[in-house]
Subunit: 308 residues, 2 copies
């Protein structure tokens, strides 16, 4: 079990090296991250985009373009289709967004012929290394599904459990979060949390322990759990997965953590796809992009093992 | 304008000293905070509760019981009624919870004869001093109204604006938060945020500038606002007030901030009452209790001026 991103990176050295396909790779920030991930031995990469620009940027950032396969594609509309098809066809293991509008990138992901559709909802898994917490924390959905239904929440939990397992966390403890730790019929988030707990008990949600509703402090901090008499609950003080009640709760909390917590490290993945997808934003640091690539590689390895 | 709690405390020295009435004051943590607030010159206090226990605790914590008025009330059910009546009758300026169940404390607040009912909804204002942010940030509602209606949100904004003004912030910038900074008909939080903005423009929500929807990073951080091209929006990078879309978003973000951000300071108030009410929880630090008392004293002064 990887307790932090450093352990996660070293875990990767035991896996067969994965290949990343980058759509519209002609971007300084993206190439810096991909180049560093390559130097760390995490990935090989196929760079799809404007070759002249890619080579120009390579010169600027001290990257050797010959370390990578470059596919020249001057058309920014065609590049994502070319890049995602490489993953679709098994020539690359995961797919990453370069410099193109998110909307266009997602269109390529969902393309019926060359994309990575599965029929399942797209969602987002954020992975945090939080100072003072001795394990990685997986959290969803801070970016994709606005108001997840109970069925959406089951799918989201399954995604997080997959990513947690890919990182070596067996039988992760899942905390559906709410403002309170007791079921209140007037608060749908707590009712859903209880339904998810029951579905887990009934064997419908597998490979994890679901314990909700929990407030964030009880889920993450043993002292808070004890203070509120909740220390005997299965996920109290030791939750691996945080399920937010909706996108607003998730996104606001995510933004607070990323901006306010010194030393916090994070990476993220787009999930619900046939292969791992990396959709970092321009504001994400190079480290966040590298951690996201690492998570994608581990998830690709996990999917390879599961799917045989 | 108080930029942090230290300035807020010094601002208090210019006000007439306020009197705090404490229900079931026989509690170590509560008496430590009240005693320290008194020593700092912030408040006088009337301690309602078990006098023998209060004196015993005073001996333990080096508090001089003669610095306070003690009203002996051995009955924990009667104590809050006695304590709240002092505020109701104008013999004290604000009301604080000691060691009794929150439910019983709230019953006394809402008591029709001796309580502090106003007919307006009860809500909660959290005030944060966040490292790296050069002003106090007011945030609601992380504790009371589960799923605020548009009308509730208007009331909540008015409460926060009152507390901000009490702290010297004129015409505060209010950010109704959401996962995104654009209106999306499929996300009620963004629709509400836009309605609030319009109600502010129309003069229905006063003494502030409402600018929503905003994501948390854009609301608080100028660099994030600039990166997303939102730097010209009135509250971008300089929001004073954060309105959470619901209690879950608020509470989860609040818990993350309090537990994860080193050096963060906070205080809070129960609002919607005829006088300021302090309802801190057992897990709050002594500093948080003192800051909450200070906020209550400033709000009491503000209400005195406004109500004449």
């Amino acid at each position: 079990m990887a307790k932090n991103f450093e352990e996660l990176l070293s875990k990767l050295s035991a896996c067969e090296k994965k290949t990343l396909s980058v759509a519209c790779a002609h971007d300084v920030a993206v190439l810096e991250a991909v180049n560093e991930a390559h130097k760390m031995g995490i990935v090989d990469a196929i760079l799809v985009g404007k070759e002249d620009k890619i080579r120009e940027i390579a010169g600027q950032i001290g990257m050797n373009p010959d370390d990578f396969t470059i596919i020249d594609e001057q058309d920014d509309a065609q590049a994502p289709l070319t890049a995602v098809k490489l993953v679709h066809d098994g020539k690359a293991d995961m797919y990453m967004k370069g410099i193109l509008p998110t909307k266009n990138f997602l269109k390529s992901v969902l393309n019926k012929e060359v994309g990575l559709r599965t029929g399942k909802p797209l969602s987002h898994v954020a992975v945090f290394e939080i100072p003072g917490i001795d394990r990685l924390v997986f959290a969803s959905d801070v970016a994709f599904i606005p108001y997840p239904s109970l069925e959406d929440k089951k799918a989201i939990i399954a995604y997080d459990v997959d990513v947690a397992k890919a990182c070596g966390v067996e039988n992760p403890k899942v905390a559906p979060l709410a403002a309170v730790e007791v079921v209140n019929p007037k608060m749908q988030a707590t009712v859903d949390a209880d339904e998810l707990r029951k579905a887990n008990e009934a064997g419908e949600i597998r490979d994890c322990v679901v314990d909700g509703p929990l407030s964030l402090d009880i889920a993450l901090y043993p002292a808070a759990a004890k203070e509120k008499g909740a220390e005997d609950r299965p996920a109290a003080g030791k939750a691996d997965v945080l399920l937010f009640p909706d996108i607003h709760a998730g996104n606001i909390c995510y933004k607070a953590m990323v901006h306010m917590v010194p030393g916090l490290k994070n990476g993220c993945l787009l999930v619900g796809t046939a292969a791992p997808v990396i959709l970092t934003s321009r504001s994400d640091s190079k480290e966040t992009k590298i951690y996201s690539i690492a998570l994608a590689a581990l998830l690709a390895e996990h999917m390879r093992k599961v799917n045989g």
